[in-house]
Subunit: 459 residues, 2 copies
C-alpha cells in the first residue's frame, strides 16, 4: 500500500495558482467540431443569428475555434474563489480497500451548494448576460443541478432567472425546486401555459409530465419573446466546455505540482460538459504531441450516444427548433428508459467530445445502472462522499481499472472526475437499497427507430 504522507489526501491549489484563462481545446484540434446549422437553411449559424438567442460574448466564444487561451474575467475569478479551487483528492482509502497498486485521484466538484461542476459555466454565462445589460436569462433543467447553479449565479449578480423544470422532476424533486426558489429564481413546471410551445404540447398531450426537449423549447421561446432576456444552456455547447476547462486546468496544475503523470483519465459523459472540461488540457497535450493518456468517457448503457449512436447532424432538442449540431446522437426523439442518472439522459453529445471520439483521441464505454450504484455505495462508505449517480459512472470504471491493476500488478495512476454529490438523488438510492433498481438497455430495434428520424443533411 502507498504511504500516506508523500502526497496529501487533498491537493488544494493556492489562489495564485488558479487558472487565469480558460483553455479552448478547439484551437489545438486538427479536425474542428462541425458548425451549428440553421435548421431552416441548413447553413452554418452566423454570429448574428446566434445573438438572437445567446449573449454576444458567449456567441463569440462559441464560434472561436482558434484562440487557445481566453482570459477569465476578474469578476468570475472572484466568484470562483468562493468555491474553488476544488480539491484533487488522493483516494488512499479506496486504494487500500481495493488492495490495488494503482494510485487513484479524483477531482471533486461537489463542494458547492449547486452540488456539481455546473456552477463553473453558470457564473460565466450569467456574468456575460449582466455585462450585456440584460435583465435576465432563461433555461431548462432536468435533474436540477444546472438550474440550481444558474440560480446561484444569477442571485449573486442580481439577474432575473427563469427556469423551466421538466414537470416530472418539478413534482418528484420539490427540494431542488426549493433551492432554486431560495436563490430567487422563478421555477415553472414544463410544459406550461406560459409559452406557445408549452400550450401546444399541453393541448396535444394532456397530462404529459414533460421532457427536457420540451423545456428547452419553452426556455428558448421565453428568452426570445421577452425584451432583455437571453437563453443559456448548461452543456453540449462549445462555450460550456470552454468554461468547464477550469476543472481540467486545476487538475493538471495540481498533478504537475507533485510531478504526477496520469495514465488514465475518466469522466462521466451526458452532454459532455464535465468530461469535456476535465480532459481538455490533457487532450491538448496529446494533440500537440506532448504527452499520451488513455482517456475514457463513461455513459449509461441506457443512453449510449457515443458507444452506439451515429455521428451525424441532429437536432439538439426534441422540439426540433434549435440549431442542428454534428454529434454522436441516438436521434432527437430517443427516449431513454427510466434512469435516475438524470444528467446523463441526453440523446446527443457535445460536438467537441464527439469529434475527439470520432478521431480516436478518446475512448468511450457504457455501464449499467445497478453496477453504477454498487460502485456509488462502495465509494460512499470508503471515501466518505455520497456521489451523484452521474459521477458514479466514472467511479465504476475507475474501480474496474484499479481492480485490473491489482490483477496485473501495474501501478497505474488513475484520475477521474467526481462531478457532484447525490443528496438530491436519494429516491434513486432508496430504490437501489430496496433492491428495486433494474437495468434497461435499448435494443438495436429501438435505436433503428430513433435513427430513422435523423434529419437529412448533405455535407
Amino acid at each position: 500500500m502507498a504511504a500516506r504522507n508523500d502526497i496529501p489526501y487533498k491537493i488544494y491549489l493556492e489562489e495564485n495558482e488558479m487558472p487565469q484563462a480558460w483553455y479552448n481545446v478547439r484551437a489545438d484540434m486538427k479536425n474542428k467540431p462541425a458548425p451549428l446549422l440553421n435548421p431552416g437553411t441548413l447553413q452554418p449559424m452566423t454570429a448574428q443569428e446566434l445573438e438572437g438567442v445567446f449573449c454576444a460574448d458567449l456567441v463569440q466564444q462559441e464560434l472561436d475555434n482558434t484562440t487557445a487561451y481566453i482570459p477569465i474575467p476578474q469578476e468570475i475569478r472572484d466568484f470562483y474563489k468562493m468555491y474553488r479551487p476544488s480539491p484533487l483528492v488522493r483516494a488512499y482509502c479506496l486504494e487500500e480497500k481495493l488492495k490495488t497498486p494503482a494510485k487513484i485521484y479524483y477531482k471533486f466538484e461537489g463542494n458547492n451548494t449547486s452540488g456539481s461542476h455546473k456552477l463553473n459555466s453558470a457564473i460565466a454565462q450569467a456574468y456575460y448576460a449582466k455585462k450585456q445589460g440584460l435583465k435576465g436569462v432563461t433555461t431548462e433543467t432536468g435533474a436540477g443541478q444546472w438550474g440550481t447553479a444558474l440560480s446561484m449565479a444569477c442571485a449573486y449578480l442580481d439577474l432575473d432567472c427563469q427556469v423551466y423544470m421538466v414537470k416530472v422532476s418539478y413534482e418528484q424533486k420539490p427540494f431542488r425546486r426549493e433551492v432554486m426558489r431560495t436563490y430567487g429564481a422563478s421555477v415553472t413546471p414544463s410544459p406550461s401555459n406560459t409559452t406557445n410551445v408549452g400550450r401546444k404540447i399541453l393541448a396535444d398531450h394532456p397530462g404529459t409530465t414533460g421532457s427536457l426537449g420540451c423545456a428547452i423549447s419553452e426556455a428558448v421561446e421565453a428568452a426570445t419573446s421577452q425584451e432583455g432576456y437571453r437563453y443559456v444552456l448548461g452543456s453540449v455547447l462549445n462555450q460550456v466546455l470552454l468554461h468547464q476547462s477550469v476543472i481540467g486546468l486545476e487538475t493538471k496544475a495540481a498533478l504537475d505540482k507533485y510531478n504526477i503523470k496520469p495514465d488514465i483519465i475518466i469522466g462521466c459523459a451526458g452532454g459532455g460538459s464535465n468530461v469535456g472540461g476535465l480532459i481538455s488540457p490533457f487532450v491538448g497535450e496529446m494533440l500537440r504531441g506532448e504527452a499520451d493518456y488513455r482517456i475514457i468517457a463513461v455513459e449509461p448503457a441506457s443512453c449510449p450516444s457515443l458507444t452506439r449512436g451515429k455521428f451525424a447532424y441532429d437536432f439538439c432538442d426534441t422540439g426540433m427548433v434549435c440549431p442542428l449540431a454534428k454529434m454522436y446522437t441516438l436521434g432527437s426523439n430517443f427516449i431513454p428508459s427510466a434512469n435516475h442518472a438524470g444528467g446523463l439522459r441526453y440523446h446527443g453529445m457535445s460536438p467537441v467530445v464527439s469529434q475527439l471520439y470520432h478521431d480516436g483521441i478518446i475512448e468511450a464505454t457504457s455501464v449499467e445502472q445497478t453496477k453504477v450504484f454498487e460502485a456509488a455505495e462502495y465509494f460512499a462508505r470508503v471515501e466518505g462522499i455520497l456521489p451523484a449517480p452521474e459521477s458514479s459512472h466514472a467511479i465504476r470504471v475507475a474501480i474496474d481499472e484499479a481492480v485490473k491493476c491489482r490483477e496485473t500488478g501495474e501501478e497505474k495512476t488513475i484520475v477521474f472526475g467526481l462531478t457532484g454529490t447525490g443528496y438530491f438523488d436519494m429516491v434513486a438510492y432508496e430504490k437501489f437499497n430496496n433492491g428495486e433498481m433494474s437495468d434497461y438497455i435499448p435494443t438495436d430495434e429501438d435505436l433503428a427507430r430513433s435513427f430513422a428520424t435523423l434529419p437529412k443533411v448533405e455535407k
Copy 2:
C-alpha cells in the same frame, strides 16, 4: 472595502498543521463542570457505572477534568484527513454587501456528506468502540445529522450502527433516513416495538410521533440489552466537546497563520457540541489570562435554555432514565414549539458551556426563527452556501454585529461557526419562501410549568 488579496478567500491548513491532540478546556476551568449524577442515588456516576453504557476510553475522557491535551489516535487523524481541514472562509462578499468595515470569517464544517460538524465526534466514538472490540453502537437522531455522521463512521470501521430516529423525522425526512441506510445503518422509527420502553410508550400513547427523549431511552435500552453494544451521543457530553475542539483548534491555527486576532466569536448552541468545540481554545486563552474575546452562544428564542433556563441538575432525557447533568435547562419535559432548527431543540445545554456561561466567560443571546431564515437566505445568495437552519442562528448574529460595525465604523474581526448545510431542510426553507413561517416564544408560564418538574437535588 477590504482588498481581496491580503488574506485568501479560504484558509486551508496543510496536513502537517492539523491538530494532533484535542484540547480539553476543562483542564483550564477553575470551576469544573459538575459531575453527572446517578439518577437513583444522586451520587456522582462512577467510571464503572458509566462503562455499562459508554465505551471505556470515552468514559475516561468524560471524567478527565485535568489533562489539557489528549492525543488524537492516528486512525482518527487519517479519517479527519478525508474531509478536514475544513476551510476558514473570509466572507469578502458578505462584507461587501453589508458595506461593513468588519472583517468576517466563518469556519465551514458542512463540506462532508453528513453535512455538519457531527462527524468529528462520530468517528472518535466509533473508533473507541471498535478498539474495545464491540460489535456495534446505538444512538438516537432527531434532525438526522448525528445519525448520518455516525453511520458514515461505522461504515468506515465495519461497525454495526443502530439508529433510533424520532418517528416524525423518519417520516418527514425520508432522504436523511436513506443516506443512513446507504451507509449500512439500520434505522428504526421511534417509538418502536423493539424495546420495552418503546412498547410502553406505544401502548400509553398510540399514534405518537415520538420525541428525542424517547429515542434516547430506546437507544440506551438497545445498547445495554445487546452483547457487544454501547450507546453513543452526539452532543452535550464532555467527551463530545473534547472531540469537537478540533473545530476551534483548526480555526485558531488558521487565524494565527495570518496573525488575525478575532474580537467576537459566535456559535449556534443546541446541546453545545458546536459552540463548545469552536470556542474551547479561545476560552482556554481567556482562562489562562492570555487573551480576551467576546464569545456569543446563539440559541433559538423558541428553546432558550441559556438565556431563560435555570442552572440546575436535570435529566438529560425526557424519559428520566439517563444520568442527571448540571446545566442550563428548561426542564426535561419542555417541548419546544414547531421549530425547524432541529438540532437546537434540546431542553438543556452541555455542562461545560453552561458552566462557562454561568461564570461570565461567554455571553448568550436568542433569535427568532424568521429572522434566522432571513439571514440564511441572504447568506446563501451572497456567499453561495445554503446554510443549515441551526448554523443560521450564528449567521444572524454575525450579520447583526457586522451591521453595528458599519454604524460605529469599528473594524472588528468577527468569526463564526458555520456548522452545516441545509440540503435536507428544504421543507423549512419552503415554508419561509412561501411566507408560512412563524415565530413562537414560550411564555413565562410555559417555562414555570416545565421548571416545576426539575428534580430536587441537594448539592
